[in-house]
């Protein structure tokens, strides 16, 4: 399986995501923002970082990069897409996922390990997890405070589209939401960084539970 990782100017977890993909046992493919070409990959990760310096709003400028047109097509066709951190922000700005990510309520950047629960295994990126499984994952963000209007929130809850939920809310997110998916359940956005815990040498490889799920779903 080949998994692409988009690289925007200012992405800084792109190399980590490529590494995580390899750790998960897939082939990693770099996708340059200016090329409107997904190079035939089977899945795409939009990595973390500060695309375009997070200027204006995180993800606001990246969503208009050339790579986004084929990515939106790919999403429509049911292709698996995972947005991590800034990638999640890009996907909300691009309306591939509902809601938005606001400043953390304590107004600080937060780099820490958080406990989250896998709320649904019915997505392409959690198919390999156990229902209700608890994971400890790193977060590192300034704007991780998930927001959606009340109707959207209740729809997300009713349709089981909350993918990860914080056990202790670090940033003020509505309903303790750490990750959501789209209606078709192929596009997932999460604030925690699974690629940062993809190797026991770093103290944990729990992130592989998520990164490998897309392989499970694909029957690899």
């Amino acid at each position: 399986m080949r998994i692409g990782v988009t690289v925007f100017p200012g992405s800084n977890c792109d190399r980590d995501a490529l590494y995580g993909v390899e750790r998960a046992g897939a082939e990693a493919v770099e996708l340059w923002h200016a090329d409107a070409d997904l190079k035939g990959v089977d899945a795409v990760i939009v990595p973390g970082g500060f695309s375009y310096g997070d200027y204006l709003r995180p993800g606001a400028i990246a969503r208009f990069a050339n790579i986004m047109d084929p990515l939106e097509e790919f999403a429509k066709d049911g292709g698996p897409i995972l947005g991590v951190c800034n990638g999640f922000q890009v996907l909300t700005e691009a309306h591939l996922l509902p809601g938005a990510l606001l400043r953390n309520t304590n107004m600080r950047f937060i780099c820490d390990r958080v406990h989250v629960r896998v709320e649904t295994v019915d997505t392409l990126w959690t198919a390999g997890c156990d229902p209700g499984e608890e994971l400890t994952l790193p977060v590192a963000h300034n704007e991780g405070n998930y927001f959606a209007d009340p109707e959207t929130l209740s729809r997300l809850e009713e349709e089981g589209r909350v993918v990860l939920r914080y056990l202790e809310n670090p940033n003020g997110s509505a309903n303790d939401i750490a990750g959501v998916c789209n209606e078709n359940r192929n596009v997932v956005g999460i604030m925690p960084h699974p690629e940062r815990v993809s190797d026991p040498a770093l103290g944990s490889d729990e992130g592989l539970r998520i990164l490998r799920s897309v392989l499970v779903g694909a029957g690899v």
């Binding site: 800084n12 500060f50 310096g53 780099c111 590192a140 690629e195 040498a201």
Partner: protein, 738 residues
Amino acid sequence: MGLSDFEYDRILELMGRPPNFLELSLFSVMWSEHCGYKNSRPLLGRFPNKGTRVVQGPGENAGVVEVGDGWALAFKMESHNHPSAVEPYEGAATGVGGIIRDILAMGARPVALLDSLRFGPLEEERNRYLFREVVRGIGGYGNAVGVPTVGGEVEFARAYSGNPLVNAMCIGLIRIEDLVRSSATGDGNLVVLLGSKTGRDGIHGATFASDELTDESESKRSNVQVGDPFCEKMLIECCLKLLDEDLLVSLQDLGAAGITSSASEMAAKGGVGIEIETDRVPLRESGMEPTEVMISESQERMLAVVEPEKIEDVLYLAERYELVGAVVGRVAGHGDLRVIHHGEVVGTVPAEFLADAPVYERDVVRPNYLDELQELTVDELPGPEDYNAVLLRMLGHPNLRSRRAIFTQYDHQVGTDTVVLPGADAAVMRIKGTKLGFAATTDGRGRHCYLDPRGGGAATVAEAYRNLSCVGAEPVAVTDCLNFGSPEKPDGYYQLAECIKGMSEACEVLGTPVVSGNVSLYNETDSGAIYPTPTVGMVGVMKDVNIHATPAFKREGDRVVVIGKTPPLLGESMTSEGDLLAGSEYLEIIHGKTAGLPVRSDLAAEKKVADLVRELVESGLVDTAHDVSSGGVVVCLAEMVIEGGIGLGYDGEVEIEEMRADVALFGEESGAFVVAVPEECWNDLQDALVGFAYRVVGTTGGDRFKIGDLIDVKSSDLKKAYERDLFETHAPEGGHIG
């Protein structure tokens, strides 16, 4: 312009004619202390700088040491004190940006950042503001640029009120064969400016950094540069790509004194000249004069020398990374830094003159203040009644409290190489694709250096050595920032000279040469000089990064052992009460006194103990180790309890022979470690410790911290005191416990 009459005469003599305004500006920035090391150069010569692992010593943009398997580390620490005092967010941010470019100029990928910080007491609003904004600035830049901030240290003392210290260290990883030098070569080669456009930022920042801070400094805000980490990120990726494709002859960052400094240094090192055409420099503001273009300190810029046939590829890549890329000059045989504007030569100075700032050597005179300061009568100090309360108060003091509120604002994991997270004695990083790793720490002991410059200088290096040893790394080399007051005042010069002497002695004995560094003098405000504060950044190498130790207790039932100087609370201390309390945190926090003459370290003996601890870790026998430092052994043990969430009990009799209990508990002596091992390893540990002084201090377990019948506190209470948020509003401290 910051030049003295003597210096102006020297310029006349060198040039053989009066310089024009532009030429004089070049001298002014290059002969500032910041660029020219006028007062410190003769003293810096004392530092040992050779060693078996040293690939590059002082003189380049960063020092380089070999790790193994062809891998090397480029590292350097630099101060950004004055800019941070005036505009803390941008001052700290651009400090981080600047040190990253130093590492990038070596051709290395920046992989780790550390910061050494000093502020005045947090009771004052201005100090809280500086502290909060400096931390935000470091995070704001480092987090965005994608280099993890993995360690550092901070202390608070009145002497830093209004003159905070912001020292940033960066470490880069590189294959030895890929190292880049900064010397310009090849008559006719092109000089290319990469990065962002040039504006009027920080005009005369270098001379500003060499002035004392006064109320006027606040209004010099226009001097402070604004950082753009997004541009820096692109600059990193672009330069590494250019080097990877072998498109550059040499590379240099633009820091203080901008193009002037970079171009003249590149020229002087290569023994060639460089011509800069100021009208070809892409500008952000209109109407900039050639002089302004030459000394602008706009951030996120690099200067490269490129062979003409490769220029198209270089400019193409700059565009791909959305950077400014412009040919702004050429290498020439004449040896001058020549400034050309619209085809007309507007200034010419031989590059070697600019690099040859005059040197001032002064007499080293012991200041009178030391005698009074070093006197300490313990009997005059009231003894506390409740040692639990003292311990909690110590742990809750900003100097000892957990740094968690700081490092959780820094992305310390980006890059997926951080093996030991912040909060341990040193950061541990891996080198992907190998078993190798490295560790890094920053340390400073300003109060100690104030009380005894020479002893404090040595102790600073020794502390860094111990911190690396604790995690299991072999210490190899040092970078430093020498933060001092004015060298033109006898006290300041004495402190500078003596600290360097002490540091040199320690580096010699410990086998850790100084390979890079920077000097920040004139750290004074209207109310006086800062503590003399040399900060040391030390790196160590690890053969197997997976084998390391951290301070946290890991299991119930572990034997806890103090190695090295046995703490007086277990008897047989050879050190007097006064010596134990001299310069200690206990004396400072509980009694509000800065006094005494701390015992000078026996460096050779300390090295033996530290090396033993490292070997214990390397062998896999010990996975829990911590250096006994500020606050003494009890604070050290309490930290291990808090970090591990496992209690400690010492039920044996506490033997205090003819010593006050508070001194015995909180006295500080250099050179001790605490380690913990499971019962089944106890025999092996005892075998390894033959010939060394050691004492068992208890067994891990339960949820209390107990030292005989003197201290008995719930672990959760320790944690509560220790983990209070450093940024919460500070109520003024109450009276001292008497």
